[in-house]
Assembly symmetry: C2
Homo-oligomer: 239 residues x 2
């Protein structure tokens, strides 16, 4: 059942090195944006073999603390929500490939945004409202340009993620759009469909203006459910 006592089986040398480097990145000894020292330098500084250094660097890369391209020196990244969410990438892609994976992720998005519109209806500031108004206007202006419409569509939803002052939320939005864009961009988008979506956005915005959380949630659910239907019709099965 619950794992008994699993404890310090001799830590690998690479793990120790990772811990040290991680700390040096956090306290700024290794500056963000700068490349890591050469492997041979790290090697002699910490008195370990290059094998260990390479494994440690690779771990840092896997955790998103450094960005490493083949043959280039790994570059220290700013630790933050962005890097954190990006490292989830490979896992998410695997989830999306599983049966019902896209559906599950989309449902999570609906659930989260349902909460967000309610929050927006109750707590959106004047700045948020004008931002949404602007995004809505851009949205309307781009009805005939499906590519740009998609961008303004995202812009509108993004504002919902900015209303609660939680630094993780905008990154989550970015993640959603990133992982779902693959399916999204393959869909046929015409002006009529764009118009429908614009009108849905419009209804959501008006409900938020009226501070009517129930109406806002209803409008959003209808909007996203319709969007899901579009996806499903495009792909025939339940991806």
């Amino acid at each position: 059942m619950t794992d008994p006592i699993r404890q310090n089986v001799s830590e690998r040398a690479a793990d120790s090195l990772v811990t040290i480097l991680e700390q040096q990145i956090n306290d700024g000894t290794l500056a963000v944006g700068q490349p890591l020292p050469p492997e041979r330098e790290i090697m002699e500084v910490f008195a370990v073999s290059r094998t260990v250094v390479r494994e440690a660097v690779q771990m840092l890369a896997a955790r998103g603390l450094v960005e490493s391209r083949p043959r280039f020196r790994p570059i220290v990244r700013k630790p933050g929500y962005e890097a954190a969410i990006e490292t989830v990438g490979s896992s998410i892609n695997r989830l999306l490939a599983m049966p019902g994976g896209v559906r599950s992720l989309f449902e999570l998005r609906i659930m989260m945004e349902a909460s967000l519109v309610r929050d927006a209806a109750l707590h959106a500031t004047k700045d948020h409202l004008t931002g949404m108004q602007r995004a809505l206007a851009d949205n309307e202006a781009m009805i005939d340009d499906s590519q740009r419409f998609y961008e303004t569509d995202n812009a509108f939803h993004r504002i919902l993620y900015e209303v609660p002052d939680n630094p993780a939320l905008p990154q989550i939005h970015k993640a959603y759009t990133h992982w779902l864009s693959g399916h999204w961009l393959k869909m046929p988008r015409d002006a009529a469909r764009n118009l429908t979506n614009y009108q849905a956005h419009s209804r959501i915005f008006e409900s938020i203006l009226m501070r009517d959380a129930d109406a806002a949630e209803t409008a959003l659910r209808e909007h996203l459910d319709a969007a899901w239907d579009q996806v499903r019709q495009t792909f025939g099965h339940q991806p």
Copy 2:
């Protein structure tokens, strides 16, 4: 018949090997629960050096496809939501260490559960309701045993994550409790506080029974806000 590793320029050999092994895991050539072949065997099968094999295995471990303990053979894991979420671990820990990190994560939890209780109020089946009732009874019975109370507390919340039929949600709940338990368990818990929490659960349950989504959300928010206050009072600052 050894597939020689095709090496697109600019792609590391280890990456190619990872791709192959990943596929072998997916199609069952490498059975779930079984250990990977010895490094030296992989090495000769794919005609690469052990260095490359080790880097590939490490990558698989970082992606949660295999579970590797030092000095033991890596074991193939079932790819799924559980493994996926677990791989986020190191990133989340970094987020929690950031200023306001715990607060951000807790707010996400509140937001998500707010949506969940609304959903439960509208769509909970008889099974879910009886499950909640049972969890609630256990909860009441354990008011004097803070450790067990904590467990029944989790059990109650977990049911909320089971109402929508989304396989990712229970895993998310597990992740929340796992990452927040560090702070949670350090808090002083007495019978009075447990009683308060039990009563809050009780109110939530009753609201769900009455199919009153608004009341359920309100009760849940009060409950979790109070819980957050407990955390903040314990730690003095905003962790």
